[in-house]
Symmetry: C2
Subunit: 338 residues, 2 copies
């Protein structure tokens, strides 16, 4: 599955900005792929793009309408269906990250068929994966892991890709969630893969590559999250990373959706090394990425300085400080062998 | 999903006994549920049951035809379809553990509709699970874990159920694979669950229960298997066992399907405690179950004696010695509080 660019971002009539999280992520990382946004009356989200209707978007070259919003329950409201049909009739593909297949809406399925257009359900894998093999493959891999869900794993991997490419390094972000897939145009929603094939899907996602090529794999969940640790472990085994970055949100007190306390950064480092060694004996933690958005500047800088010293690792906030020190460390630990 | 008993076991025309592994498992554990077997010309498998045709099976009260064989590739050959239709027309349900849905065969779907019969695809979950919550629930739980796949986890859990019930204890086998589901009439094929919901499915499978009730949960894979460890971890977190038994096959040198060496029993004990503590801080290993079928009697008894002494745990072969000592240990460690 490769999603055709550029995109028209459909925001529907969602009640707040948070519901357009996916669209915001796309605009943050791939503004050059977005010709504009399409909003229905009453929409309270705004990505700061030009408002376009279907005809205007088509005239600007839009190839795919992306449903960049999540409704309550992940459903597609009936009154959005008409706009999606209109886009298909204008010759665009349509892509969503909702749980229900686009083709399960008769009007959408019929319009796609009529116009020969593709429907992308990025949360539903469109291929069958093999089980993981656990054998080493050439190329370098980095996985972002976390003390919890939603602590900046995707953002950190994308920031690393940007910084490494700017330095002339070969690096590819590997998406494992819906927003990441829209941002990179491909990937696997790993939490939607049947459990037997999670490690195999991660192997497929980061295949053999040049000896100095980095795959920057978007992590999911946490080894310490009682709901999702199995997904995290399968992804770790399949990605077989040489390096990992621990992502952390310091003001969070409980893990997302459950009553469990967050593990320490040190616990995540130790457990990730312990488990990751099964498929890559050389696995090592190479840095920390702290989401300090809820801290004042001085507090944030002080915390990062202390965490970096305590763990003997470069420590950044990808947004506040950039990820330069993380890339410095990768270059130092994994020198290109001429 | 509750599969109606008794069963007619359909063996098709498979080329050897191994292909009828599922049927053999059912006969081993639930002979009283099987009215007979149905074999096509050329079948090389034999479960030792009376050979019946559809009419004879119906006359003996068969409620469900179980496809108790796996063909190469897990597919359903076209020439089996006619017999399944005949069973549906005779008023039986049909159940399989194949990957493709029975209803995807038009003749089978139509016959089921025509006769108002159920089609059970036990490898395809028929319900949506919630994500795991990780909160403790009342009742006692035991999980069988392993140094590898296919080392006796299902057999051990079933043997424990039989022995515990014989002693008047409250105990239920909880199936997590297709053969186990046919044997218990219900369960979840955990490796076929979407990865995000594995822990939640395990929570659903072993719900809150009486304080002295044991759920004996069939384990899957191994925490050290590079293909399936994520499934194993999700099942461990969801089952939140109080006790676990390590199952091992001492003549195996490599893990099934991959090049990795088997972990030691001690490594499995330590890792299972380490990971299991996330959802049950009291988790403990209470015994070892060794599959000694490839060893001579004296060698087998010597090995079990040595392993038991080395680990300070009761050590049995469920087939050769029975699981009495494992149940003794459970009763000793988890006394019923009056």
């Amino acid at each position: 599955m490769e999603i055709q660019k550029p995109y028209l971002l459909f925001l529907g009539d969602v009640p707040d900005q948070l519901a357009a999280k996916t669209a915001h992520g796309i605009v943050d990382w791939r503004p050059e792929w977005c010709v504009g946004q399409l909003r229905l009356p009453g929409c309270k989200a705004d990505c700061g793009l030009t408002d376009l209707d279907i005809a205007q978007a088509k005239a600007k070259g839009a190839k795919t309408l992306i449903v960049g919003v999540a409704n309550a329950g992940g459903v597609l409201p009936e009154h959005w269906v008409g706009k999606l049909v209109e886009a298909l009739d204008a010759g665009m593909d349509v892509a969503t990250g909702l749980h229900r297949r686009l083709s399960s809406f008769p009007a959408i399925a019929e319009a796609a068929r009529r116009n020969g257009r593709a429907l992308h359900d990025v949360r539903i894998p469109d291929m069958e994966f093999a089980t993981g093999k656990g054998t080493r493959r050439q190329g370098l891999r980095l996985l972002t892991v976390g003390t919890d869900c939603s602590v900046g794993k995707k953002y950190t991997a994308l920031a690393l890709e940007k910084e490494m490419r700017a330095r002339g390094l070969q690096a590819d972000f590997r998406a494992t969630g819906q927003t990441g897939i829209f941002i990179s145009g491909r990937g696997v929603a790993i939490d939607a893969v049947v459990s037997d094939f999670v490690a195999g899907a991660a192997e497929w996602l980061s295949p053999e590559n040049a000896v100095d090529h980095w795959d920057l794999v978007e992590g999911q969940g946490s080894l310490f999250h009682p709901s999702f640790a199995g997904v995290t472990l399968g992804l770790l085994h399949g990605a077989q990373p040489d390096a990992f970055i621990v992502c952390h949100e310091p003001t969070r007190t409980k893990m997302r959706g459950v009553q469990h306390a967050l593990p320490s950064i040190q616990a995540v480092i130790e457990r990730t090394v312990l488990e990751g060694q099964l498929t890559n004996p050389g696995i090592q933690c190479t840095g920390l990425a702290i989401n300090t958005e809820h801290l004042a500047e001085q507090e944030a800088l002080g915390l990062m300085e202390r965490l970096g010293r305590d763990h003997g690792l470069p420590c950044v906030d990808p947004i506040r400080t950039g990820v330069g020190p993380l890339v410095d460390e990768l270059v130092r630990r994994f020198p290109v062998r001429g």
